[in-house]
């Protein structure tokens, strides 16, 4: 816990040299969350989810993306909140070979950010799925960078 970088797990640890990344900022349960645009496969608004029994609550089921079966995760349930009624958009991401659809409220904007501007999250214990935070360049607020590794971990 010496340097700032040590406290940022996941995709942004190699930030010693300044790297500029594109982030997709989206809204889930009133929060502005961000994900490295590199991991984003597709944003889908028309989909039908098939319920899959015997999975945790936050797995809403599976859906058919052009012949591929993709699991759907309710992001707000996964983050320990109530189910968001406004979640109407499916953000399909691919992280380390795993494709998954995240059920989110809406997409906000794309932002280009230098890694050096990322700050460690405040009270990381209470928000395990956030790896960093940062002010959005256009001044519209603060974004929380999603930790895909933790999100997909099988604890």
């Amino acid at each position: 816990m010496n340097t700032e970088n040590d406290r940022i797990p996941g995709a942004v640890t190699e930030a010693s040299t300044s790297v500029t990344r594109k982030y997709l900022i989206f809204i889930s349960d009133g929060l502005k969350l961000a994900i490295d645009a590199e991991h984003v496969v597709e944003i889908i608004s028309q989909f039908s989810i098939t319920f899959l029994p015997k999975t945790p609550d936050y797995i809403k089921g599976v859906f058919n993306m052009r012949g591929s079966i993709i699991p759907v995760m309710d992001l707000s349930l996964r983050m320990g909140k109530a189910q968001s009624t406004a979640a109407t958009l499916l953000l399909v991401i691919k992280y380390r070979g795993t494709q998954i659809g995240l059920l989110v409220d809406s997409v906000d904007q794309m932002a280009e950010l230098d890694d050096s501007r990322l700050l460690p999250p405040i009270s990381p214990a209470s928000q395990p799925f956030v790896s960093a935070m940062c002010a959005i360049p256009d001044g519209s607020g603060t974004m929380l960078v999603l930790d895909c590794e933790r999100l997909l971990s099988r604890e």
């Binding site: 899959l52 599976v62 795993t98 997909l152």
Partner: protein
């Protein structure tokens, strides 16, 4: 066994195949009591190819071993065994088997990128000793009737390529020059030789430098002087020219010695005579080679990856077709031409499906043949007499299944040999049995599953002993009552072994439970039947869960499930009054004078909506192996051909497979249906 290296993969694949062929030839020879001339030629050819390809892969040690074994069979080919040498036959079989095991070990190491065995002196010494014993007083005939001798001489002489020339018996010469700076000239030259060997027998052509196969330095000579080949007649040379033309990096070639010089002539006649004398021997060989060339051309090997891709695409086409034909816009519209064409399309896709599935099917024969060796080795080691009877070797199963059933079958055969067959022929005779025990391995395809059975006519399972052992290992309680079937099932439990001493072959306390595990991984089941004193039969049933199958769709609440038709015995509507309760509150139903448990899909899967009253839904009677029960669902939606899609790996971490969910399939309207597995579903309901 993929190593990510195409050339290496090809080497591993081809050499593995050759070793299997070799093993079978030797096993046959052993049964027949000696090597026929054909066997010897076959073995010689196999070892030669192994030698060549090993050398190309720069695997010196395997090439050396292959070279020595080849020498050994060269001696055999040239000098038939005298009476007193017949006694060496047993040693020869052993040695070849040892050689096969050595190569298999090395292939395994190569596949896993492990270092090869460094010390091969043991096997080389055995080969040399045997070679000396076989050749005995008979001196190797000198002369140039065989290219081999030249090679050997050249190698001992340290390759003085300058003075080397091709054999005088081969007056039709061909000098090949390779492109300047193309590199690896010696191997390019050797590849020509290898191709020419397909139609020229060993002795009928020679080449200079003769050590291109092993000596990288010979590349210099090839660059400087060209690569000179000599043939017995112009016809062979013409064929060789076509080979040379087809080869890459050949700059030019020239013909030499077309018109035989006077002093050459008698030599040529002599050669002709010699070949005439050799006629009966050389002819079948050539024919055999020819047949093999043709055989090779009609078969190709394709990587499994490509077949998987093909299956996936065909699956997509089937879905796309059914989506197209059931398009909502078409409902109620009458279009004769469209319907006709749609039917034609359906027919074609069905055919395409059948063919793409048949591509993945391979006969179990190869796996079965390997068991001959196990039975042979174990009979020798254990002093038992046994024969292996194979049935249904031509049964075809999916390639992935063939790959995974080898080990289970081997375990079962070993068990039969070790525990089943009585200790000596005398004991068997005293029991009134044939002194030679029989282990039978059979395969059968019932259309919905493959059934593999291993049975022996040995002593069978001693229930008392098994029960004692089960109690000792804590699998059974001392005061419990167990049926014979329960007792046999103990054999399949982890950590169970009736043999108190651990033998080399089985009885490590693993074994049958490993068989059970690997078969269950394939979605199959294992069962044991045995009558004391009469032998034991182990049956493996593997469902043919191929990518595409017939399924019955049913609905529970808003969810749609698919059950493979092969599991469904019957479906029926029943009334509340037909349902009985057991003491634990479980529901049962009586069908044909037997009672079957009832499982409600709605409750098992916690589905919010759906029918609760028995009379509102439908019962589906399912059977899988020994399991038989009824599943309660809302409605049957109809039969459909479905494409099985595996669940996303991420979801596997939630162990939903244990709940009887084996995959998904995409329905005609693009929605997803969940495929249920009858056996796991039953097990899950038991846990609940």
């Amino acid at each position: 066994m993929s190593s990510g290296n195409d050339i290496l993969d090809m080497y591993l694949y081809e050499t593995g195949g050759l070793l299997e062929q070799l093993e079978e030839t030797v096993l046959q020879a052993e049964r027949a009591g000696g090597f026929s001339q054909e066997d010897i030629n076959e073995i010689f050819r196999i070892m030669h190819t192994v030698k060549g390809s090993s050398a190309m892969m720069e695997l010196e040690k395997p090439a050396e071993v292959a070279h020595r074994i080849e020498d050994l069979f060269f001696i055999l080919r040239e000098n038939s065994l005298t009476q007193e040498q017949q006694e060496h036959l047993a040693a020869l079989y052993e040695l070849v088997f040892r050689g096969i095991d050595y190569f298999r070990g090395e292939l395994e190491r190569l596949a896993h990128a492990a270092p090869l065995t460094d010390n091969i002196d043991g096997i080389l010494n055995s080969i040399n000793a045997l070679a000396q014993a076989l050749s005995g007083e008979k001196e190797n005939q000198k002369g140039c009737e065989n290219e081999k001798n030249i090679t050997d001489e050249a190698m001992t002489a340290g390759s003085t390529a300058g003075e080397e020339t091709v054999c005088k018996d081969h007056p039709c010469r061909l000098l090949v020059h390779f492109d300047e700076g193309c590199g690896m000239e010696h191997l390019r030259a050797y590849m020509l030789v290898d191709a020419i060997r397909d139609f020229c027998s060993e002795g009928s052509f020679s080449f200079v430098p003769s050590d291109v196969e092993f000596n990288p330095a010979s590349a210099e000579t090839v660059i400087e002087k060209g690569f000179l080949m000599g043939f017995a007649d112009a016809k062979s040379r013409d064929k060789a020219i076509s080979v040379v033309k087809a080869a890459g990096s050949v700059h030019s070639y020239e013909l030499q010695g077309d018109v035989p010089t006077p002093e050459n002539k008698p030599v040529k006649d002599a050669a002709a005579e010699a070949s005439a004398a050799n006629g009966p021997k050389a002819e079948p060989n050539a024919q055999q080679n020819q047949a093999e060339v043709n055989h090779k051309e009609s078969l190709i090997s394709v990587s499994l990856d490509k077949l998987d891709q093909l299956s996936a695409i065909v699956g997509e086409i089937v879905i796309a077709e059914s989506m197209l034909i059931s398009s909502a816009e078409l409902q109620g519209v009458r279009m004769d031409t469209f319907s006709k064409n749609a039917r034609q399309l359906r027919k074609l896709t069905a055919e395409l499906q059948d063919i793409s599935m048949s591509l993945r099917m391979v006969p179990v024969a190869n796996t079965f043949q390997k068991m001959n060796r196990i039975v042979r080795d174990m009979s020798k080691k254990l002093g038992k007499q046994a024969q292996l009877v194979l049935e249904g070797s031509d049964t075809e199963v999916d390639k992935t299944i063939v790959d995974s059933i080898g080990d289970p079958i081997m375990h079962m055969i070993r068990n039969s040999m070790d525990h089943g067959i009585e200790d000596s022929p005398q004991i068997r005779q005293a029991l009134g049995k044939d002194p030679v025990g029989t282990v039978k391995l059979s395969a059968e395809d019932t259309g919905s599953e493959v059934i593999i059975t291993v049975s022996d006519d040995g002593r069978g399972v001693d229930s008392e002993k098994v029960l004692q052992k089960a109690i000792q290992s804590g699998l059974a309680s001392a005061d419990g009552e167990y049926s014979r079937k329960d007792i046999l099932n103990f054999l399949l439990m982890p950590g169970f072994s009736t043999n108190s001493t651990v033998t080399e072959f089985s009885g490590r306390g693993v074994g049958m439970d490993v068989v059970k595990q690997s078969v269950e991984d394939l979605g199959g089941s294992v069962s044991i039947a045995s009558e004391e004193g009469m032998g034991m039969t182990t049956t493996i049933r593997i469902p043919l869960t191929m990518a595409i199958m017939d399924g019955m769709e049913l609905s529970v609440g808003d969810s749609i499930f698919t059950i493979p038709i092969s599991y469904i015995r019957q479906s029926m509507k029943v009334e509340e009054a037909d349902i009985l309760l057991d003491s634990g509150g479980g529901e049962m139903i009586k069908l044909h004078d037997r009672y079957y448990p009832l499982i409600r899909a709605k409750e098992l899967f916690g589905i919010p909506k759906g029918a609760d009253a028995i009379s509102d839904g439908i019962l589906i009677w399912l059977e899988s192996g020994d399991i038989s029960y009824c599943l309660f669902a809302d409605r049957l939606l109809g039969e459909q051909q479905i494409v099985i899609k595996p669940l996303p790996p991420y979801l596997n971490s939630f162990d939903i497979k244990d709940w009887g969910i084996m995959g998904c399939s995409i329905l005609g309207d693009g929605n997803i249906s969940i495929i249920l597995d009858a056996a796991n579903l039953y097990a899950a309901a038991g846990k609940n």
